[in-house]
Amino acid sequence: MTTKTVNTKARTRARNADKIATVIIVALALSIVVILIGLLGFILFRGLGHISWDFLTSKPQTIREGGGIGPPLFNSLYLLVLTMIITIPLGLGGGIYMSEYAKPGKITGFIRLVVEVLSSFPSIVIGLFGLLVFVNTMGMGFSLLAGALALTIFNLPLMVRITEQAFASVPREQKEAGLALGLSKWKIITSIMLPVAIPSLVTGTILAAGRVFGEAAALLFTSGMTTPPLNFSDWNPLHPRSPLNPLRPAETLATHIWKVNSEGLAPDAIQIAAGASAVLVIMVLIFNLLARWGGRTLYRYMTASKRMN
């Protein structure tokens, strides 16, 4: 009888503890959701009112009111394109090496460590390195090219990991089928495995692109914090005033937000920062949705009974 009472008591206590713990966990988790929604809502609420076609296309102002974010927005997009042009081939190659060529051993372990170290480097350190090597030593000056190279270093470890995982998750049977057919290893990688890996490669790459799009610390001292006057009717990359000239300095959306917040003199600096932040967050949202949707659509396209080549 006594043991039974003790047991019941212990059980009641355990049940109460369980209830309390559940309530606490749920409360904490919900508070995160609230914080999240609050932050997103705040950014969008603060910024959306300021976004207009004029804001998105006109030039920033240093002292006067009414500056826009046209050139920084263009710079961000163009820099993203330049970065991805450099990063994707390098990242694919590195990731394929890790997944398909590296044999388990010391060297592979070392390369893995390198990728890990590079991916955890503070981006400001990568920016400093870019300043020293690309901007000064190689003489690129503050330029889109120097910025793109710095962002490549920033993004490369992620691309390598994405590629490695995408290839590692291709069913082994696919590779075996190619081998048995007498295809070379490289042909199997490019023609058999790559199509299977494409959906997750696309998802990962777009997410990585979102990260690149918002990066600022690595750019302050590489692509610079100014934009020269641009002639948006001149698309020859060799002309100094062409927007496409890779050797001109370029302030991106993210660096613009930082600059406006820390040294903005315009009376509407806060509104501009709010508008620009909202644009940045919306772009990240778009990248996120695009990544999910793109990966899923591609996967369905590859596997479903649609016409394909």
């Binding site: 049977e173 057919l181 007498g182 590859m302 009974s305």
Partner: protein, 251 residues
Amino acid sequence: MAMPFSTEDLSVYYGEYQAIKNISLGFPAKTVTALIGPSGCGKSTFLRSLNRMNDEIAGARSTGHIWMDGIDLASPSTDVIKLRQRIGMVWQRPNPFYKSIYENIAFGPRYYGIKNRKKLDEIVETSLRRAALWDEVKDRLKESALSLSGGQQQRLCIARALSVNPQILLLDEPASALDPVSTGKVEELISELKSDLRIVIVTHNMQQAARVSDYTAYFYLGNLVEHGETNKIFTNPEKNSTQEYIMGRFG
């Protein structure tokens, strides 16, 4: 005298473990040889070593010879890729490429240098006909191979292996993941195909071995216990352990 396709003292090791022990086995032309034995007896490893698929497994190595037209396929100097172009292989689980039905078949021949569209069309049709799949898919060649049923996918894989005109076809439990109707079709196919090439098939299904094969080899613990005409192995085996295995499976 070595047969046109045979192994001689073939051993396979995974690290220190010897999975296949000194096996000498010949595969006559226009015949089906079934490899049987309990799980882990080494029959699949043996099959995979015939086109050196074990090369892809880290830590695997082999000794001995695999003779084909006087060439030792097991020799390190043999070009593995070229060797595999002459030996087709089909697995337990169908593994069509993530491509269209047409592309699954045309991929190999095109890689071997056939660019002519008409010639490729011809190869696709012949291969699919030989795999008894043509009538079912001729109107949907551009569709993804993954839209086919499991049994169709498996026949597509056989057609893919046939597309490059191999001299040998290795089948690793090709019907064990299929429904009875598809299994019947695949078995029928094997009997038809043997008029052109030699076939080696690993199977767990005794009735299947008895139905499709001319010769049977019984493996146990990495050893070749007994090898002979299927009729004899199934009705009057020399070794007790062979009889027990076959009876056990029947009973």
